[in-house]
Amino acid sequence: MNLIFRLLPWLLPAALLGGCGAPPPAAAPGTVRIRWAHDPESLDPLVQPNQYATEATNLLYQSLLQIDYQAQQPAPALAETLPTTRPEGDSVLLVTYRLRPAARWDDGRPVLAADVAFTLRLLHCPTLPTEGARAQFGFIRALLPDPAHPADPCRFVLRCRGQAPEFALATGDFPILSEHALDPGHTLRRWPLAALADRPGTAPPDSALARVGRRYLAAVLANKLPGTGPYRLTQWQKDHRLTFERKARWWADSLRPRPAVLLARPHRLHYLVLPDDAAAALALRRHALDVYPQVPAPLFARLQAAGPAARLAAATAPSYDVLTAGFNTRRPALADAATRRALARLFDADGLRRATQAGLGLATVGLVSPVSRAFYNDSLRPVPFAPAEAAALLRRAGWQRPSAAAPWQRPATRANQPAQKLTLTLRYRAGETLFETTALQFRAAAQTLGIGVTLLPTEAGALTEALHRGDFDVYVRTLKGNPFVFNYAPILHSRAVGEGNFTGFGTPASDRLIEAVAAAGPATKAPLLRQFQALLQAEAPLVPLFFLPTRLVADRRLRGLAVSGVRPGYAATALYWPAAPAP
């Protein structure tokens, strides 16, 4: 006993020091820990406020088609095969699907065409805040039984307005919800889909629609909305972590061979909300984190250099996410395209790309990635960084500067209004170095012309609200894209103003062009997209600065990591540890 007391003063510090230096406990077998920069805010499958919400809902719910990140193309998920398309006349496309007969809800009921029809109707439920989804899927006008197999409840035809080739894929990109769980009385069936889609906002409220909407929202709030996805949410500590557990029995387990999009290898997925990049990098190096997606360029270079010693693997690919500045066109000072074009020349897109992306990233003229060569308008040149040209454009737009110390002013458009002053507020998500550097560069350039810019870094949730309210002059954010679908209605159509269209932009001509692009066939798609890019550059409600690369660093022992340009850049459900056999 005496020996213990004699050794205690030595053992205690040694134990403490040993404890301090010890690596954190490794993840349990079958568990993968992934970094998220911020909370998903909502797990509403029809209203996904950010990329993390999309990732989370993809684990809980399934669409007809999902992205196969290994092949970098859409693949059938709830659908048995990719859909077949058939034009009808010169303005309608029929898209035929067959659901997998094995697809089941958790209660064992099969997933049927009626569930797809219900989800489409629910998208247009006026009491739900689904304006973005309505703009995105408004081209689907009806769900009809397959005339070749009228008795098969798993087969159906989607009747689409327009004949765009990407409709084949776009029609499969919404999560399917259970009619039995949300509308057991089938009250929505009395509404034809087109009638719901065309229902004016001024129409009197319908109690049946309101009831279903309420039931849906209650289920979302309680996290009790049934889904066909392989995981269930077991823990959500806001702004801290989300845990998804693999369902013990999932309908796709019986499929042989198992398609890549229906893999669900990890038993448990921990998403750790770590807003700070340095903290995330430290966690990764200490192996308290397994996957770190969207790594900033300087950190990526350091982690890449430390790779072999730190047992890390780094990968990159060109992405379809574009850094974008947007103007609030509802503000009188920013209502005219000439002013917006002038201000667009104060963003040093090329300098920012070189500085922040370490040479990666792609300069662009619009929202179409230069990687999509057929559709990219290479006759345009990217908006140059030209403060002197901007000043000349401002003068042409009617702005004057009475003295060197005075702000830019121009007479009001109406007689009883005060003169307009060119001072701006710029919002961006707080804590994002890329956005902050962009904001500081714009502010510094504007300051040289005497334009005051107030920077308002805003927390992610508050930023979404502020953008919806239109409480900004300029914003800087990332717009996500993909190489499959070119539908800009959710972000630029006048129907989506106040929802996804934060800029408030929308003219009859731009609306017509956006609709035409969305509905265009293979022959007309490329010229229409080129025309759209030219219009976007001329009107400048948005200024696409450059396309970002995907950068990902992960534990080198992790398998199944296929880095893709499509967000989130990897498939979490395909990951596994070599020691743990895939279920």
């Binding site: 700070d276 990049d277 340095a278 300087p298 350091r302 040093d348 300098g351 920012l352 070189r354 500085a355 922040t356 707080a430 804590g431 170095t433 902050e436 550097t437 904001a439 500081l440 560069q441 502010r443 510094a444 300051q447 107030t454 920077l455 308002l456 870094p457």
Partner: protein
């Protein structure tokens, strides 16, 4: 007394550093700096000190020149903390000296005036008229000669209560919460002022308790001098002596708080240079020592200098 007259080397160093800081902070806009504040140099992101690029102390991860940020950060720190510390010291001294001299029963005001004051406070706090009305009515009735009297104002209890209330929540938490509720960068000085005065007030109140029972004060009161004159001429000069050492510590505390808030990204707008923000930039790029060392040294030296000055003032006061 000898220490007051003969400055030590440490004292000279502390005052010298503080003077250099004040001069460079005030002169920062007119110094021939190669890069203006808040302007990123996109060609040199996280670049080490280099004479060729005229970034004498390097740049941070956003391409901001460290030297420029350091000098303008000093300007921000001093222009924010000095006025707030002065304001908080004045406010705290006035409240503490009043409460310490008159206590809970020394100051008596007419009852109608006290009731009207209470009603005004209730109205300002948006208390319903159903409750404020009777107080106004009572104030009217108290004017009647039969019920007219003077009642004591519990100044001492009010001060200690308010101070305890403000101290119950740590200052950092209070300011962070206010920023979360939408308090802008412009509101930060007011917020700091509002949360800093109780410390000074408590100190001056305690000193006033010691002073007011001294024979020379009692003699002045016995001579029939009005209480306000006794307070102002005879007590206050003695009660305020400890402020000489408290003021530098107050500035140091505010400097630390402002840096902490900036480090957390709260309070000051992002385009305003700040030492705390520089330390934050360093933590996102741990290999860039040149981003961390200058603001750390500046902050540490300033805090040490202020603590040294405060310590010396305390010794001179004690001697």
């Amino acid at each position: 007394m000898a220490q007051l007259i003969r400055p030590t080397a440490g004292c000279a160093l502390a005052w010298g550093w503080f003077s250099v800081l004040i001069i460079s902070a005030l002169a920062a806009p007119w110094l021939p700096l190669p890069y203006p504040p808040g302007t990123p140099d996109l060609l040199h992101l996280a670049a080490p000190p280099s004479a060729a690029a005229a970034h004498w102390l390097g740049t941070d991860g956003q391409g901001l020149d460290v030297l420029t940020q350091l000098l303008f950060g000093a300007r921000t720190a001093l222009l924010l903390t000095l006025p707030v510390a002065a304001g908080a010291t004045l406010l705290g001294a006035a409240i503490g000296a009043t409460a310490g001299f008159w206590g809970n029963r020394g100051l008596r005001v007419p009852l109608p005036a006290a009731l009207l004051g209470l009603a005004a406070a209730m109205w300002a706090a948006a208390v319903p008229w159903l409750l404020t009305g009777p107080v106004v009515l009572a104030a009217g009735l108290a004017c009647w000669p039969r019920w007219y009297r003077r009642c004591p104002v519990p100044l001492d209890s009010l001060l200690t209560g308010t101070g305890t209330l403000l101290d119950a929540v740590p200052r950092l938490v209070l300011v962070t919460a206010a920023a979360g509720l939408g308090a802008s960068g412009r509101a930060l000085p007011l917020l700091l002022l509002f949360t800093t005065w109780p410390e000074t007030a408590r100190l001056v109140r305690a000193q006033m308790w010691r002073v007011r029972v001294q024979p020379f004060v009692e003699a002045a009161q016995a001579a029939g001098l009005p209480p306000l004159r006794v307070w102002l001429r005879h007590c206050l000069p003695h009660a305020l002596i400890p402020l000489k050492s408290v003021f530098p510590l107050s500035v140091a505390g505010l400097l630390g708080l402002e840096s902490t808030l900036s480090f957390l990204g709260i309070g000051l707008p992002p385009e305003v240079p700040s030492w705390g923000r520089m330390l934050n930039a360093a933590h996102s790029d741990l290999g860039a020592w040149w981003v961390f060392v200058p603001p750390f040294l500046a902050l540490a030296s300033t805090t040490l200098a202020l603590a040294y000055i405060a310590n010396k003032s305390k010794h001179s006061f004690n001697n």
